[in-house]
């Protein structure tokens, strides 16, 4: 039975068309995946279904639900539907809850708003729904800041499903969460679909999730629907060129070229621990000491490409800063080319460079690209080449990363995310370092761009004989771009070895759970 019927939906925000023309149906008990890259209009479509479009929006088309056209009903009527017949869960659990109210009150608010039960029953119903979403040990008088991201997301889900709506819209509900938590939340959503018969519209850019969980998928690109159907069929037929492009981006395996590995350690990390004093320094207390990195040891030889797998809180950022010499070790030492690294000894700095995750935040918005790429020359001090030579090296680098030479005169905001990462790579290469650290360098990029950048990295490092440490929480990326890898958890290295081996046959329990949790593409019967 068709629950929801969308016909020619269009949304323009401040005259700019975001959603141009989409039509689809949703049946009872169905899990529909609304997928596409950023800018495709999927989130806005979802907001249109909820009537929560931002100021300055104009919508068109028909949304048939429950005997109403959602595009035309009054706000009053819509309020009666939201939370009761149609609900939504959003992407950022950390900011989705009111910090001043306890979670019990926020959950019961849905019940109270729709007068769903007598006041005396509220407590029970809240307890009930909290148990069902997996928060059985949590007291409803707790406040949001006392819960983790995953727990907060469960609270939001509780608020959304407690009245058993016909439709639940989930907009990238797991993107901001750890891989292990991700899997659990998706399981939870699936459970509600099966047990309570709630139809789910799942918005996600992750095709593997779509393949594993959705009954039907809709692929959007720049506001238009380009492909739809059952995932099995869509991914097998690859009818539309865009579908093909995305699919190969998700499932493609990069073949790493053989790299010459010389003997002798480039980087040696020896029993390094790094402690932090937390900012709890009160007048009467010394504050607690947090061990961010705990007895970590590994080497990187010249030519090696090492991966570091870790989720947030694993200590990888602290480790990176320590290797870069920006943080001192509490015990143990790090040697680069045989010499110890410390905060005061800058000589190694010209040999290690970094590419960061955030293509927006890693550049000063007020400087031109030429100045941005040339910044590392400062590390060479007196040995830095003359200004004119610097300029020509910068131009060389731009060519190597595939960007036009006139980029030097532009500002960083004139470039797209993928282009900015190319500039970041150019900046990392400009003083020909021996080791590059890639810190989640492709995590913020769209799928189709990601592989291009990975290929670029692979080509460049082979051409220049570089070694690198590639940090990522994404196992597919690690698999594609590294030969050896380390797995970090809670500041310790729990497993290390050949990448292929670890991913196929993990010895450690944590590694095992990481691999299990990551959504994988099932086979679709073609190469």
């Amino acid at each position: 039975m068709t629950l929801l019927s969308v016909r020619n939906l269009s949304v323009a925000i401040h005259e700019k068309p975001i959603v141009k023309d989409i039509s689809f149906n949703l049946g009872t008990g169905e899990i529909l995946a609304l997928t596409g890259e950023s800018g495709s209009g999927k989130s806005i479509s979802a907001l249109a279904l909820m009537g929560l479009l931002p100021l300055g929006s104009k919508k068109g088309g028909i949304i048939n639900f429950d005997g109403n056209d959602l595009n035309k009903i009054s706000e009053n009527k819509f309020c009666k539907l939201r939370g009761k017949k149609i609900s939504m869960v959003f992407q950022e659990p950390m900011t989705a809850l009111n910090p001043l109210k306890n979670i019990g009150r926020q959950i019961s608010e849905t019940l109270v708003q729709h007068k769903a039960c007598a006041p005396s029953e509220l407590k029970n119903r809240v307890r009930n729904i909290m148990d069902r979403v997996g928060l059985s040990g949590i007291d409803p008088s707790r406040f949001p800041h006392q819960l983790s991201g995953g727990q907060r997301q469960r609270v939001v889900i509780a608020m959304a499903v407690c009245l058993e709506p016909s439709i639940l819209i989930a907009d990238e509900p797991t993107t901001a969460l750890d891989v292990t938590t991700q899997a659990k939340i998706l399981e939870l959503l699936k459970k509600f679909a099966e047990q309570d018969g709630i139809s789910i519209i799942l918005i996600t850019h992750d095709l593997a999730i779509v393949a594993n969980i959705a009954n039907y998928l809709i692929l959007m690109k720049e506001g238009i629907l380009v492909d739809q159907g059952e995932p099995k069929k869509v991914f097998r037929d690859l009818a539309h060129p865009y579908t093909k492009k995305l699919f190969s981006a998700s499932s493609q395996k990069l073949i790493l070229k053989e790299n010459e590995i010389s003997e002798g350690k480039l980087l040696e990390v020896n029993s390094v621990s790094v402690n932090y004093k937390s900012h709890n320094r009160g007048l009467f207390s010394k504050g607690t000491s947090i061990e961010a990195v705990s007895d970590v040891s590994f080497d990187i030889k010249r030519g090696e490409r090492l991966g570091l797998v870790g989720e947030s809180g694993s200590g990888k950022s602290t480790l990176t800063r320590t290797i870069l010499g920006l943080q001192s070790t509490s015990s143990g030492y790090i040697k680069f080319e045989g010499k110890k690294i410390s905060k005061d000894n800058r000589s190694f700095k010209k040999n290690i460079q970094v590419v960061f995750q955030d293509p927006y935040g890693s550049f000063n918005p007020r400087h031109k690209v030429e100045r941005l790429i040339a910044e590392p020359f400062f590390a060479l001090g007196k040995e830095a080449p003359h200004e004119t030579e610097q300029k020509s090296i910068v131009k060389e680098m731009l060519e190597e990363v595939g960007l036009p030479l006139n980029s030097t005169e532009k500002y960083i905001h004139e470039f797209s995310g993928g282009q900015r990462q190319r500039i970041a790579i150019a900046r990392a290469l400009v003083i020909k370092p021996k080791l590059i650290i890639f810190d989640e360098a492709v995590s913020a990029l769209d799928l189709s761009i990601r592989n291009q950048i990975l290929k670029l990295i692979s080509d460049l490092t082979e051409r220049h004989g570089l070694s690198y440490l590639f940090i990522s929480h994404d196992l597919t990326v690690i698999e594609n771009i590294t030969e050896k890898c380390l797995v970090m958890n809670n500041g310790k290295i729990v497993e290390q070895g050949q990448t292929k081996q670890i991913l196929n046959d993990p010895r450690n329990e944590y590694t095992h759970s990481l691999i299990d949790a990551a959504p994988k593409f099932p086979e679709f019967g073609h190469a």
Binding site: L326, V354, F356, G361, S362, F363, E375, H413, G417
Partner: protein, 275 residues
């Protein structure tokens, strides 16, 4: 890139009025404001005297023009003091954040903020003698913690950004990073704050002059014109209204300018966020 909004346009327009008046008055005034001409007193609005004359026979328009000089220069230099001392303090605090210097600067800020600025300004001007210079110092001192606090706050959030980390990787020191990377990205906030402090300075100078502690006679100032006009508010309300309106136009203009600049300079509105 900068789309002039209504606020900005209005603001610039309104500000120009006193600015132009002040500039012109440097070279030419319709009538000499130091000359008292009792026989000419309290003449109504006319072509020779567009705002009439005051109780000493001085031409109101000329008084307003020269008064503009006083108000603008006092407020301007006071802002200058605030920026010159406050911004470096804020940058230092952010650079050595979490340490003694940061703490010390914050405590200093809190302390200055605890003092009622008007009372201290009166203290300083009354003790050191009333003059425009002392008014500048008194008002300027209270601008320092304002700029220190706002620079520190904005700088702290900039220090979290990855491009700062990049500069550190390149081996740049805190001070260099503060000048090359942090300060340029603060400019838009500082400019807006400067216009706000400027307008507050105009109000403060008027207040001090009103109670006799700003620029002394025969230098005209808008505040003192109001004090003189007070006894005659029923006889010749014009005497009170004109300087008041002058103050209002200047302050309003500056505030609108500040609002307009805030929107125009907001880096978030620059360029499109493509992905």
């Amino acid at each position: 890139m900068i789309r002039p909004s209504t606020s900005l346009q209005f603001g610039i327009l309104l500000c120009l009025i006193p600015m132009i008046m002040a500039t012109i008055s440097f070279f030419w005034q319709p009538f000499d404001v130091t000359e008292l001409n009792i026989s000419n007193r309290l003449k109504p609005v006319s072509l020779t005297h567009p705002f009439g004359t005051d109780h000493f026979g001085r031409d109101m328009l000329s008084m307003i023009m020269v008064g503009a000089q006083t108000s603008i220069s006092v407020a301007f230099v006071a802002v200058g003091i605030g920026v010159l001392f406050g911004v470096p303090l804020g940058l230092f605090a952010a650079n050595w954040r979490g340490g003694f210097i940061d703490d010390g600067i914050m405590r200093f800020n809190d302390l200055v903020f605890a003092f009622p600025s008007l009372v201290i300004a009166i203290l300083i001007t009354a003790i050191a003698g009333p003059s425009a210079f002392n008014a500048i110092v008194a008002i300027g001192i209270f601008n320092i913690p304002v700029f220190a606090r706002i620079s520190r706050g904005a700088a702290l959030s900039l220090w979290q950004r990855e491009f700062i980390l990049s500069a550190q990787v390149a081996g740049k020191t805190g001070l260099r990073i503060s000048t090359e990377h942090v300060l340029p990205n603060l400019m838009h906030i500082l400019i807006v704050q400067a216009t706000i402090q400027f307008s507050l300075g105009i109000l403060a100078e008027a207040g001090l002059s009103y109670i006799g502690l700003g620029a002394q006679p025969p230098t005209p100032s808008w505040g003192r014109m109001l004090a003189d006009a007070q006894t005659m508010v029923s006889l010749a309300p014009r005497l009170a209204i004109v300087p008041g309106v002058a103050i209002i136009i200047t302050v309003l203009g500056l505030n609108l300018l500040g609002d307009g600049l805030r929107d125009a300079l907001d880096p978030k509105l620059r360029g499109s966020m493509k992905k």
